[in-house]
């Protein structure tokens, strides 16, 4: 469903990604872990070309989105993205946050976009907050609205960039529950996160990145039980409680 081929990325002379190869099957939930600065977020941002890779290809559902003439705005609707800092539009209600792209990109009517947006809010359990503005919502609620904003476009793949890192601990659970529901509903998901317990329970595969390369990958029980590389073991010891 999502395939990354020999992806290179650099900021100036700083090489952030040094040839990443990664294939994610339909309905698969892949967790990317690794120390900060390892290139996890950059990898995610290259997958919908919020960052332009220096070299390499990204395929979504068989189409190369790194091709020069691709209709990027159309394909970005197939790739949902959830950010660490939510990035809800503060001047719009939850409903308007979700329906904006439906109206302006998918060109749906106001009524139709409203219905689809309500359905997406229903999936994250926030129908009653449809008319609330972001500043009236808790962090967890904001992140769920942000998930609904991506879900409403019916993406093939969802990218999560540390979705719970900015949340108070007691709000993390709600967001993870929504992500679990999406997984159960068959969504293909690529998640950068430090929620190791969630990774252990929900992920199909864990990818460990360090210094711009994939060091090792495997099923959660293998990675947590007996990682092959010393760097992976050291990292997991530090973060896994």
């Amino acid at each position: 469903m999502l395939q990354v081929v020999d992806l290179h990325m650099a900021f100036g002379t700083l090489e952030v990604l040094k040839g990443i190869n990664l294939a994610i099957a339909e309905r698969e939930l892949v967790f990317v872990i690794g120390p900060s600065g390892s290139g996890k977020s950059t990898l995610l941002r290259c997958c919908n070309r919020l960052e332009e890779p220096v070299k390499g290809q990204v395929f979504v559902d068989g189409t190369e989105i790194t091709a020069p003439k691709v209709n990027l705005n159309k394909f970005r609707q197939r790739i949902g993205m959830v950010f660490q800092s939510f990035n809800l539009y503060p001047h719009l209600s939850a409903l308007a946050n979700v329906s904006l792209a439906l109206r302006k990109v998918s060109k749906r009517s106001r009524a139709e976009a409203g219905e689809l947006a309500m359905a997406a809010l229903q999936r994250v359990g926030l129908v009653d907050k449809a008319q609330s503005y972001p500043n009236e919502l808790s962090g967890g609620q904001q992140q769920r609205v942000a998930i609904a904003r991506a879900l409403a476009l019916e993406p093939k793949v969802m990218l999560f960039d540390e979705p719970t890192s900015a949340l108070d601990p007691e709000l993390v659970g709600d967001v993870l529950n929504v992500m679990k529901d999406m997984k159960d509903a068959g969504m293909t998901m690529l998640v950068v996160s430090h929620e190791m317990r969630f990774a252990r329970n929900a992920a199909d595969r864990i990818v460990f990145m360090d210094q711009g390369v994939i060091v090792e990958e495997g099923a959660p029980k293998d990675m947590f039980g007996n990682a092959q590389h010393k760097r992976t073991r050291e990292f997991l010891q530090q973060v896994d409680h």
Binding site: R76, N87, L100, N135, R149
Partner: protein, 224 residues
């Protein structure tokens, strides 16, 4: 005290010239409204164009804006009013004052809007683009509404400061408040019409100050 009243509050003089100053008020209002509309619209347009970051175009915008911001409006008014007829362009005083103040307000407004655009969090752009909105759509529906709200306080101040310069029209014979008042002073030999003019400015601009404050609170939203 009585000599003060005689100098500034001579009712006989005031009543005689009140109709003329009233006509001046109308002219001032006309210029002011036109300047606010066209100046802010042009400033917004320039900021939007600048956000596309086309190098040559941006150089031209910055050069124009910086020049207009450093020139005293009076210099521009005199230059255009007395200079342009020499190359065959004749504009009335009303049009010259409107044009100059529009350009000056646009220059300041552009800088204010530009600062507002830059201060919108990058995450807003990324979120908008990630849902498939194009650059212009993200600008219009997501970034610009936030930038404009943030700019309301400085923009209100600057708009009032520049719109008050309609008084400069008096030097090129535009029959606005100051022109009518100074004419009345020279005919009557008494400063009361100027005092009335000053009161007229306060009555005219105080509501604008309050309107600005109202808009600020009306459109403010709590920051997280």
């Amino acid at each position: 005290m009585s000599s003060f009243a005689e100098a500034f509050l001579n009712w006989e003089v005031i009543l005689q010239y009140l109709p003329a100053i009233g006509r001046g008020v109308i002219v001032t209002i006309q210029i002011a409204i036109l300047v606010v509309i066209s100046g802010i619209a042009l400033g917004l347009l320039l900021a939007v164009v600048r956000s596309y970051r086309i190098t040559l175009v941006n150089w031209m915008i910055v050069a124009l804006v910086d020049t207009l911001r450093s020139l005293p409006p009076l210099v521009l008014i005199l230059l255009i009013y007395f200079g342009l007829p020499n190359i065959g362009i004749n504009m009335g005083g009303f049009v010259v004052v409107w044009l100059v103040l529009t350009l000056v307000l646009a220059a300041f407004a552009e800088e204010i809007f530009w600062a507002g655009l830059l201060s919108v969090d990058k995450g807003q752009w990324q979120a908008a683009r990630s849902t498939g909105l194009g650059y212009t759509q993200a600008l219009l529906y997501v970034v610009m509404p936030q930038a404009v709200r943030m700019t309301i306080p400085p923009l209100t101040n600057r708009t009032i400061a520049i719109t008050k310069n309609t008084a400069l029209g008096t030097v090129i014979g535009v029959a606005e408040i100051m022109n009518e008042a100074t004419t009345a002073v020279s005919f009557s030999g008494n400063a009361s019409p100027l005092f009335v003019g000053a009161v007229a400015y306060v009555l005219l601009f105080l509501p604008v100050v309050y309107l600005g404050r109202w808009i600020e609170t009306r459109f403010a939203w709590k920051k997280n």
